[in-house]
């Protein structure tokens, strides 16, 4: 593992290009200090996030997955985040059946201007994952890819 064992956990974030990725940029420009665990994958829209990506990330080694898009009704593509919300809510309910604590997955909305909010989202989610601890030591899962 290339993450710094003991100091960080693996958290993967899927961020929509228009709102949340911009919000994370805004947080950076504003120098809002955040925990470093999160790794960001840029997608055009939260509606592009296939729930399988989340499951794959968790089963393959991630300790937490965060999806963040535009606020409902503020989607760059009209309704993409509504699709995302429906799918991701369903996913949240299904995770326990896959042996995954649903708290390891979180989805939220952050707009491009909400740098401070982004910082809080990252800080809170990272804290929550650290409270849950590393996923794969506790719950030995067969790797699938």
């Amino acid at each position: 593992m290339s993450y710094l064992a003991g100091k960080e956990l693996r958290i993967v974030g899927f961020l929509c290009n228009w709102c949340s990725y911009g919000g994370a940029d805004t947080a950076g420009v504003g120098r809002f200090k955040q925990p470093t665990d999160l790794r960001i994958i840029r997608v055009p829209c939260s509606g592009r996030v296939n729930p399988l990506f989340v499951v794959k990330a968790l089963l393959n080694g991630a300790d937490g997955v965060l999806v963040s898009g535009c606020h409902p009704r503020d989607c760059h593509y009209s309704d993409g985040n509504f699709y995302a919300r429906r799918r991701l809510e369903m996913l949240k309910r299904l995770l326990p059946f896959l042996g995954i604590d649903e708290r390891r997955f979180h989805y939220t909305w952050v707009s491009a201007s909400e740098g401070a909010r982004w910082k809080n989202v990252v800080t809170d989610f990272t804290k929550a994952i650290h409270e849950l601890g590393p996923f794969h030591q506790k719950e030995e899962k067969t790797e699938c890819s």
Binding site: K33, Q34, T36, R42, R48, A57, Y77, Y83, E114, K119
Partner: protein
Amino acid sequence: MRVGVFICHCGNNIAGTVEVAKVAEAARMMPGVAFATTYMYTCSEPGQEEIKEAIKREKLDRVVVAACSPRMHEVTFRRTVEKTGLNRYFFEMANIREHCSWIGEDKELNTNKAIEAIKLAVEKAKQNKPLFPAKFKINKRVLVIGGGVAGMQAALDCADGGLDVVLVEKSPSVGGMMARLDKTFPTVDCSICILGPKMVDVSQHEKINLYAYSEIEEIKGYVGNYQIKIRKKATYVDWSKCTGCGACIEKCPSRNAFDYFNFGVAPARAINIPFPQAIPKKAKIDAQFCRQFIKGKCGVCAKFCPVGAINYEMKDEIVTEDVGAIIVASGYGLIDLDKLPEYGGGRYPDVISGIQYERILNASGPTSGHIERPSDHAEPKTIVFVSCAGSRDKSIGIPYCSNFCCMYIAKQAILTKDHIPDSRSYVFYMDIRSPGKGYDEFTRRAQEEYGVQYIRGRVSRIYPKGKKMIVKGADTLLGTQVEIEADLVVLATAVTATTDARTLAEKLHISYDPHGFYVESHPKLRPVETNTSGVFLAGACQGPKDIPASVGQGSAAAAKVLSIFSKDTLESDPQIARVNTNICVGCRKCIGTCPFGAIEEQQLRDGRIIANVIETVCAGCGICNSTCPCGAIQLQHFTDNQLLAEVNALCLT
């Protein structure tokens, strides 16, 4: 595959908290990476040259730049690699500044994070395929939303540049807030005298098609090809016949209608023309105050109209216009006085807002420019101005400065002295914000030449005592409480987004900030662009702004539109969905989910029905991609394989 990795120091911005040399060293070890280096400023000209040389020298076929946000420089570097003959989509960017060096405090953790961000980008780049944009024709007409000074400027500049302009104004006349002002700072020239000619130009310009008293119903399409539905609200007056003679207004028996133009300073008639210089100068009926609509009988206006223009049966009408670009200049709103209960606004008639005072000062206003207070029409001798009435007030959710109140208060205080030489004006202020050209001199003039008393402190309460209003404030420079017995109190009420700003943004697919102001593409370098290509901003819809700034933005937005319309075709973004005809089973799920109607059925020669993406309509969101049960439809540049490569780069290794 030979990937080249270029790591930017960005001066100290990145190198200060990330060990870039170590990052480069780690990058060299990544599978597929043939070359990795660091550079002080990769985006500089020599920085870009270095990339080009390295591509040739090292025979690189994929390029990763680890620097700032791709939202900042992706376009720059794509252009750089393209110049060497490489497809621009063979380029990937790793954000190690906004998402890394600026937010993490531990150098070791930051360095590691930067390495992982590059690994992710390298894996993605290895999966990238060449993509080629198509060209499409554009409709060189422009829609301007809002007929205030910013919108009119934009419309006139576009029209003078030869474009057909559709101008949509919500209220019955163009002119916006500026048409309500008496004078303008810092020159104290008459507002309508400088705005009037522009309003006439708008109405007479052959290239401008004005829809007054109309609103945007629906917006469909994309840059170059928008279809707009406009709701023409029922005026109950046939404007093709109305001559604006005013006979109907004179006879209207319903004399207690709310006067929107005058912000309720005096009552209006149910049928009205907002102000003498209105463009178009046509009457309209406010149905909620009209007896014909409330009681079902009256008909006075119809009886007196000399041209028979009154039509009580009129309905809203929807018209469609096709345009290629949109300029949003929808303006601002003001908080209601009753948001400030400690000031008694709305409860006591002699506590009014700055815009109401502006109407009282105005020669064409309800008092014909005579200053009188609402309660008893007496001429006030002591006038107190309260700045930041709601602005910079977190407790009511308005933490920002409203930008122009300091200046208009100084102007109103000066005008008050001009109107009533034996009056005394007091201004409660926290800071005097006057950074424009000639602005600070102007606020000094108010104090030095006109004897306006500036008191540094906020007002806590305003209450009536006899015929006076007691203003209880602080003078923090004296370090004490002060009280003024005023005849009239003017509150510089906070500027807000318009009440329907959010709804309009949602129709336009542009973002707004927590206060409802529209978000520009870049706060410094792209101030009139939005993140939706083809949609531009002008004026106070983006944030509180005075007249010069609004006019400047109107022209800037027009220049942006003229520049995209200078070509006959636009390049389409090839990052769109594509169907693999061999895999598609024709389940039609994607057709149902596409928000843009960009997917249609297509029958293959063998009779199979499959999905087909209409290239010019697809906006590239990828919703279809995550809907497709068999992975047949893939969003180019963000395919399942490409995203999974990123996931695996983070998790599996």
